[in-house]
Symmetry: D2
Subunit: 344 residues, 4 copies
């Protein structure tokens, strides 16, 4: 089959690889209809991946059609339109049985497209382990592109919003306005935020956030502007949607007394200089973590069905899978929000 594969830093190639096949009774084989590039795929692209493997298929956001199921699969059958959770659980431990993939006790598999251990879904087809838990039939009223956003980006954004202890009427900041940050702006308003400061270096992204009702702010001016605008109270909740040390540090400067900073971006710093004195004096709650995708579907599916969240509008580019190398380059140059690719 055709797929995008990793061969080294900035070397992702479209080419032929072994067909995806079932390996277990509980597996599901999905013919990919659309797949997308996640911000964290750029870590791999930059050569900061999680494995020394070469030649594996990349990508972990995809929707498609079931073409084959293991005999132990209960909830899916051939022909079903499905969305595939980026987070992969074993499907058989107590955590997975409660729909909390992030509490999976055997989460060796982890995620697609990080190594040869679990091939990625930027491909014509992908094997989904424990299909009953790790994929879901796309519900009525959800388009393919909405479903694609539900495989990773929207749940990650929403988890961070839910982790931010947003109170009705609150002043909230979102730091970083990629697709996840922009969806967080939407999410903060859905949770009752009274004012959302949308912070990014790129004016065009701030303009999109302003179209959602937020107040766009340049990072360099954020502390002073928000201090003034909140009369010194600062924000009661901050959603950090980048994962860089600088943006986490900024988030910790924007939060007011007894407030919460909720981080969603991948950060691999082992000794982040944390302002403990300030945290103690102001009474901080700090949260970070990865997203248990299926857990959030329950809440998000109705919100997308009813038009409260419109994740599809952050798709800026649609390309054939064969142009995947270019797609990565576009995203890397920050010329795109969300790039969707389609196998021909």
């Amino acid at each position: 089959m055709k797929a995008l594969r990793y061969f080294g830093a900035r070397d992702i190639q479209y080419g032929t690889t072994d067909d995806a096949v079932l390996q277990d009774d509980r597996d599901v084989l999905v013919r990919v209809k659309h797949c997308a590039i996640c911000g964290s795929d750029l870590h791999i692209y930059h050569g900061h991946g999680f494995s020394e493997d070469r030649g594996f298929c990349v990508g972990h956001e995809a929707v498609g059609e079931v073409v084959e199921t293991g005999r132990a699969v209960r909830t899916l059958k051939s022909g079903d339109r499905v969305m595939i959770s980026a987070a992969v659980g074993c499907g058989a431990c107590p955590g997975c049985l409660m729909g909390r993939v992030h509490e999976c006790e055997n989460n060796g598999s982890g995620c697609y497209g990080l190594s040869a251990a679990l091939q990625g879904s930027q491909a014509e087809a992908v094997r989904v382990p424990a299909g009953d838990v790790n994929a879901r039939r796309i519900p009525e009223g959800i388009s393919d592109e909405q479903a694609l956003m539900l495989t990773d980006a929207l749940p990650t954004s929403w988890m961070a919003v839910r982790n931010a202890d947003i109170k009705p009427g609150a002043s909230v900041a979102v730091v970083g306005l990629g697709p996840i940050g922009l969806m967080a702006v939407e999410g903060c308003f859905a949770m009752g935020a009274g004012r959302v400061y949308a912070i990014d270096l790129v004016p065009e992204r701030r303009a999109i956030a302003e179209g959602l009702g937020a107040v766009g702010v340049d990072p360099g001016e954020a502390v002073a502007f928000i201090r003034e605008d909140t009369k010194g109270r600062m924000c009661s909740s901050v959603v950090e949607a980048v994962g860089a040390d600088a943006t986490i540090d900024l988030s910790l400067r924007l939060v007011g007394k007894w407030g919460t900073v909720s981080c969603l971006g991948v950060n691999q710093t082992r000794r982040f200089p944390f302002p403990m004195e300030r945290a103690f004096a102001s009474g901080l709650t700090f949260r970070t973590g990865t997203c248990s995708v299926p857990h959030w579907w329950q809440e998000l599916i109705p919100m997308v069905q009813k038009g409260q969240l419109k994740p599809e509008r952050y798709i800026s580019h649609r390309l054939p899978l064969s142009q995947g190398a270019e797609a990565y380059a576009i995203l890397d140059r920050r010329e795109a929000l969300k790039v969707v690719m389609t196998p021909e």
Copy 2:
């Protein structure tokens, strides 16, 4: 001073009565600028009041200017624009000290305008006991009319919304579209409701709710319509904003499995026929109670300041206090939403 006074069923008269004066070190005397008629004032108007007294001043929703303070008052001074909480606490028990007037251990005073014990505020002036707790300087950015809505109607509406366990994306019903019900529609959306069914017999009121984004439904069709529209799931939250047996009963038919019915209307039925079998089978939470006004100011003031809630738009009539008798009659004929009166 001039005031509206109760002399019997449908007999509320404008006339002269004794001036309001301080009685305690902690009292505050307020010259009333605007006052409003609450739905529960109609109970008194209909002769179903809480006292046999005659001639007392009625009304419990008012804003105005402080003209005198007892020497033990800490937070207010002459000239302050204030809003007066309809709920009155003693100001000195642990409940009041925590801002939870509804947990006041000595709540004999209860509310203005129910009897001669605490004169009402549909008058040129009103004595506010324990002014530090029972009144608040009107915050910057809040108009007099907004503040008037904050004295009772909006907090009552919001309490019921907060009691309704609204989940993001949820289908919610509001039963009864007086000003409190209409504000509840706004409040449900602010809490993340995905769809709000707005139920009232009066088409004009449903039309206002539709203008807020709700789906207007006639009470007679509500069960069938909502069953169809939710594919049998019914509503996960219902706000009951009338207090009649029929509307509580309807609310209990609209709630789905593991849902919540939150009542705010005054109901005095001692043996309400409660569908216990259905409640057990579906897993019901049922809540009712009165509103601790100052407790909710913390959350509501920023929401009104930021324009998330616009309570002033439900004021349909503005009249001089001298036309108070007519104002009650208009409201009684359901020709008005909120009636505001102004002493000349």
Copy 3:
């Protein structure tokens, strides 16, 4: 196989019936090691069952050993010691996939032993539908008898405790001291209750509750005693563990301002006379519903493993299954707490 079967009011007989067999790929066949009689089985015994069927196997509390599995079963295999959830979900809808059997969208099967549709487990063997969801391997450190209490009685008790909004230090009442009520006493203390009033007509049951640290109270004296003991505040939480109109009514008299009444007992009254006036004046939360057994295992298993809850101590009788008719009679005469039966 041998089983207890229902033939009419007070006519439960031990005898031979068709062997339990697998009917679906996801079924599990369990050889029953121990089974127990639930208070709700007495409804059937009294002829107030949920079906006109005759001759079906009764009972819904059992533990045993897996002897056969359908080919789509993922988490269990022959030889596994298992506990069987009294609540039965389809195992394939979103609710079941989240471990919330009570939100199962297809819960036709409902429960074992209510009719011929799903044979009961007071038998030598029982077919468990969707075994992955509806049964669980008994965790290390849990005895068979503890596991048996985890199939229904303990989760039901715990759900009601969790629904009761118990605050640390609170005064709480438990109405009804069968095994579920006694476990609720334990549960209330585990949740931080400061005082637990344990209410039952039977002095021996009150004595057991007193051994757990509660204050035993006769129902006839409960209102006066608790008013005195709480200085008029009454209880902030009440757990109702019977399901009769009289005990629900009593519970509603024991709750104080802004308190919660949590009911767990089966009640089939269609027009229960609910004290709405009092509920409104005091600010009541009322909850009732059935128990989603597997959902609570996550929390309860560690509590039993660590000895915080000791459900096995409420087993008062152990009999061979062949004496099942007598076992029902003993329980009906209130001579027993929990009766456990063992197929020979």
Copy 4:
């Protein structure tokens, strides 16, 4: 009057100073009956105080009798036995009016005994600003020594327990077994913890914790021991009760996936090396902050009255105030848990 005063590092002297007097209508003058030394007083003792002042009275934990009240004081009168909150609010801002001194908008006064701005209470008398908010009549059933523990140490401990997201049955660690840590051990059990690992270098302190039901662990062995004992899951909640970098670091190693670390100790590190990579991978919640004493009285008073928490048992030394210099030295040598002093 006689008092303990600060004159430099390790130089606290008992001597005569100006009498405490009322300065404001809302002040209350309290004759001190008992006062105690807090762990944070040792910061001052070590010369790491918050001011360059010399000669000011130290201490912020005291109970006594009201001897004079400003004319605007509502809730206290001469002769009342009172406990004095260590946290001081202005008493007139919205935060203070809601009983949330930690949200006081004007918290210049901060705390007693940190500088000459607000004289400490290790003295024969102390001026309490805004007495209605910052002191409380000692409730019936609370001894003087219990009340003394309620002025700071117990609420601080309890706040940290409540911030730790303790789930029923959970495995929890408490790091540091001074009086606050030992009370945290009690508090964790009151909140339903299934196992509490009590960690301190001092074997005697571990032995006290074991007497409360905890498992004593030496800090050097804590990571390995808890990993083994929890089968790799580690703790879902950790309460850090020291404030040192090393103990915060240890706490962050003891927490398991999706767990919470709650810190209560004063920490003044500006660039604490925070393990962000680990926090992200495991899904951490981290909380720290100071305690709003009166806010917690509502919950703690019934717990102490009912004997759920017994804070008085951590008082190890009782000395006359005149021996205050020696009292500090004893505490500094870690020979004491809580030292109580009494003016003669």
